[in-house]
Each structure stands twice: as structure tokens, then as C-alpha cells.
Symmetry: C2
Subunit: 267 residues, 2 copies
């Protein structure tokens, strides 16, 4: 089943746009920070600023969840935190496995943001027998042979792949065969998965290349404008000038949420 169109039966409330879903964690982080400061209510304007989006978008986003605000007043912080958490599925515990405990995998294991918000590192898995038993971030690394057993025993449905590119597809297939239905892929490879499995990728080199594209364009524009900037000169502030240009837009204006106690990342 599920082949072809995933029509949504227009069942009213259950059609949250993907773009909205992607922003909910941002709002949640901003709200959590407010909550920690014991701020009771917040307006769409304030919250939007904290989350780095505009207020109309935020209100529209929230409208997909329901009417959780009060006109003339704003949103109750605690209540919203709860509603968004629930919507995101964070009121339950999600055991996660990390496969590939190299530099990156170890860094991820140590990343505190992991442990927070309902995610729990259930196991670290690596193909190197020499790694087996060694603790990383306090968790003993297990050999790939155990992969299927671990996933079943722990009821893992989310897997993180931090292996070299060459191993990623194979690891992915084993994860999926064992029951994982969501994958976060750090390997620079396109993974192919069966229908019903979600994959999200995090790719450093792609991000850098996108930045390089815009960087190059800026250099071109400056040159065309007769400005001489060896990338080291003073900053320019032609804020008003680039208003109507479609060029770089403020595309990259979105951002990670705001303050919230970090995790670890030593140093």
C-alpha cells in the first residue's frame, strides 16, 4: 500500500505543511527558553523574533495546530510548549542508534541535544571489532553483528548513520530490514529506501557549496559596483540598495532556534 499518491482525505486538522513541521522545533526551543525565564505569555511578534521568522508565518503555523492563543493577549508559554511537544511526538521516548562511531559518530554521541527532548541514545554501533566494548560518551560500542538484535530489543525506530559514504547504503538497508523507519544520514551519499521510510540528510559539503555560490555572487556584485573588497576589507552596508533584488534574497535567513542551554560540545 501507500504506492503512489499519499492523498490526505482532507481530514481537517491532520494536514500540517512540511514547512511548518520543520519550524516547530524552532518555536519549541524559543518557547523553552522563555519558559526557563518564567515568562508566562508571549505575542506572535516576540516569539517570531526569537525564532527568526516573521510573525504572520508563525501565526499561520500555529493555526494548523489549533487555536492556542488569546486575542489581544498572546500565547501561554507553558501551554504552547506542551502542545508543540505533543505534536512533534516528544512526549514519548525515542530510542536512537548511531551507526559509525568515528570522529563524527563520537561527536554526535557526546552531543547533549541528543539526550534532551525525548531522544535517548540506545546504542552505538561500529563495524570495527577493535571498537567493541569501548565506551564512547559512557556507552559501550557494539559490533555491527548485533545491529538487528539491538534494534529489535530496544524497539528502535530512528537510526543515525555516521559511517563512511561507502558503507551507508548497506547499513541503511540493514536498519530498515530490522524495523527502523526514520533515518538521519550524515554520510555524503544518496540513500535509497522503500516507501514509508523517512530519510533526512545532513551534509557539510553541500552546505559549504551553497554558501560558496552566494559568496561568489556577492563578490561579483561588488566588483560590478566598482567596489573593491578583498574579502578582508571593511564591511559594506548597502542594506537599502538590495531591497528589490531577487538575487540572494534573504534565503538563508532562517536559522536555528535561539538560546536554550546547549549541551556539551566541550570547549
Amino acid at each position: 500500500m501507500a504506492t503512489g499518491r499519499t492523498h490526505r482525505p482532507a481530514t481537517r486538522s491532520r494536514g500540517i505543511p512540511e514547512a511548518t513541521v520543520a519550524r516547530l522545533p524552532l518555536y519549541l526551543r524559543a518557547l523553552t527558553a522563555l519558559s526557563e525565564r518564567s515568562v508566562p505569555t508571549v505575542s506572535s511578534e516576540e516569539l517570531a523574533a526569537a525564532a527568526g521568522v516573521n510573525s504572520a508565518k508563525l501565526r499561520k503555523d500555529f493555526s494548523y495546530l489549533g487555536s492556542y492563543g488569546t486575542r489581544g493577549v498572546g500565547y501561554d508559554v507553558e501551554y504552547l510548549v506542551y502542545q508543540i511537544s505533543r505534536e512533534l511526538g516528544l512526549t514519548q521516548d525515542w530510542p536512537v542508534v548511531i551507526v559509525g562511531i568515528g570522529n563524527l559518530g563520537a561527536a554526535l554521541a557526546n552531543y547533549g541535544g541528543f539526550a534532551s527532548r525525548g531522544f535517548r541514545v540506545a546504542a552505538l554501533i561500529d563495524a570495527d571489532p577493535a571498537m567493541a566494548g569501548k565506551p564512547v560518551a559512557g556507552i559501550p560500542v557494539q559490533h555491527t553483528d548485533e545491529l538487528e538484535k539491538i534494534i529489535q530489543d530496544e524497539g528502535v525506530s530512528i537510526g543515525v548513520i555516521a559511517t563512511p559514504a561507502g558503507a551507508a547504503q548497506q547499513v541503511c538497508e540493514r536498519l530498515v530490514a530490522a524495523g527502523v523507519t526514520s533515518i538521519l544520514n550524515f554520510a555524503p551519499t544518496v540513500l535509497s529506501v522503500p516507501d514509508g521510510v523517512d530519510v533526512r540528510k545532513v551534509d557539510l559539503s553541500i552546505e559549504l557549496q551553497i554558501l560558496a555560490f552566494h559568496e561568489q555572487r556577492k563578490a561579483g556584485e561588488l566588483a560590478a559596483a566598482g567596489t573593491v573588497v578583498p574579502a578582508v576589507a571593511a564591511r559594506q552596508e548597502s542594506a537599502a540598495v538590495r531591497r528589490g533584488t531577487a538575487v540572494g534574497q534573504e534565503s538563508v535567513a532562517d536559522q536555528g532556534p535561539d538560546g536554550d542551554v546547549p549541551a556539551v560540545m566541550p570547549t
Copy 2:
């Protein structure tokens, strides 16, 4: 519009859609793999499959760059590699600094994909004096005090922030003041930057939360269909409780580096 005289030849990099720019690195990677296998030409269908997109989208994307294909034949691999590289600005060298050499920063420094493709780690910077001089990935770490000097001396325009969230905004401001105009942010914080500065973020916990959202939805659908998936069954039990309206106590606390998670929330 008969002739292409008065009109924009489209063959210019005049406003390539952001979504297209974000896919160019993907195409480039697939093309590079083909190039290494000495494949001379490729069709939109084949290349699209390798990049994980559909062929119409790929052709549309390429049409923004110009007409680099041959009807009835396909695209010349080497030629396309060059054109895309040029478009992305990868034919020049981009010195990059990484600020925050903790687990993640070190992992990034060691990441090979960095060195390839025109990016060069010009310096590693950390606030911890004890780190100074220590080599990571063969590059000696320098103290934050040197930040401005390094950026100017090396002509750095791209900075990577891998510090704890609390330090990110400040580091960002120093980078920008020193001349950096593109930032890749790994810290879980919204950075605010002046106009003209691009920021892209990579946020593990946001990605996980998005996956959790879809995962929860799948669980709901399966339950509704009466289906039972083996690996999911174990977790299902605890998941079943979710519908309760226990507002008071959420597991969505904040980050506890580990150990104690404030039970009484939020704050």
C-alpha cells in the same frame, strides 16, 4: 519575442532559484562519481536517479544554467562537472575557519569532504588556552584572540561555528566584523547577522524532531490500520499512553548534559 536580443538570454546566472542551487552540489557529486568511472555522457533520467530527484526537475534545474545538453544524447559528464563547479564557485579556493574545536569541531576538521572541492581549512580556533598549539587534524589550534588577524591574513570569507550555543552569537559577530560574510552554524541558536551575510544552519536536534513527528504519525496510521510491525511493537506500548492530557509533566525539559534532567520542568 522572436529573437533573443532584447531579452535576457537565460544563459546567464540571472536568478537561479534557491531550490536549484541547493541541488547543484548533489548533481555535482553524482557527476563526479560518473567521471571517475570514465562515463562520457549521461541522460537526465540516469543522472536524476543517481542524485535522487526526478528527471524533469533536473532538466529544469540545468536549464537555469544554460543549454548544456544535447538532444537525443544527454549531457557530457566532464563538461557539466566544470559548468556546475564554476557556477557554484568551486573553481576557486575558499579558505575556511572553524571556531570551537570540541568534539564536533574536531570531527569537522577531520572530515575529508572539506579539503576536497575547493575548501581549505585555513585555521582552527578555540577559546580554551589549553588547546592552543595542539594539533587537530594536523592543524594547530589557535586562540580566539587571533581570530581577527587570521581572517584578515588568510582572506577568509566563510566561517564555521561549532561552539556551544552560548558563545555562538558573539563569535558570529566577531567573524562578521572581521570580514566573514558566510557562516555555517552548528550551534543550536538563531544567529542574527547584518544584511548581506548568509547563514546556514545544521541542527541535529531539529532534524530528529522532524523525524519524530513523522514517526509518530506513522505509528498512528499503523495503529489505525491494525497493523503490527515487529520492531515497532516494543515501543508501541509506551507510545499508547501518549494521549493522556498530563500537561504538568513533560519530558521536554531542556538539556541536561546528562545525569539530572529537571523533573519539574520547564524551567
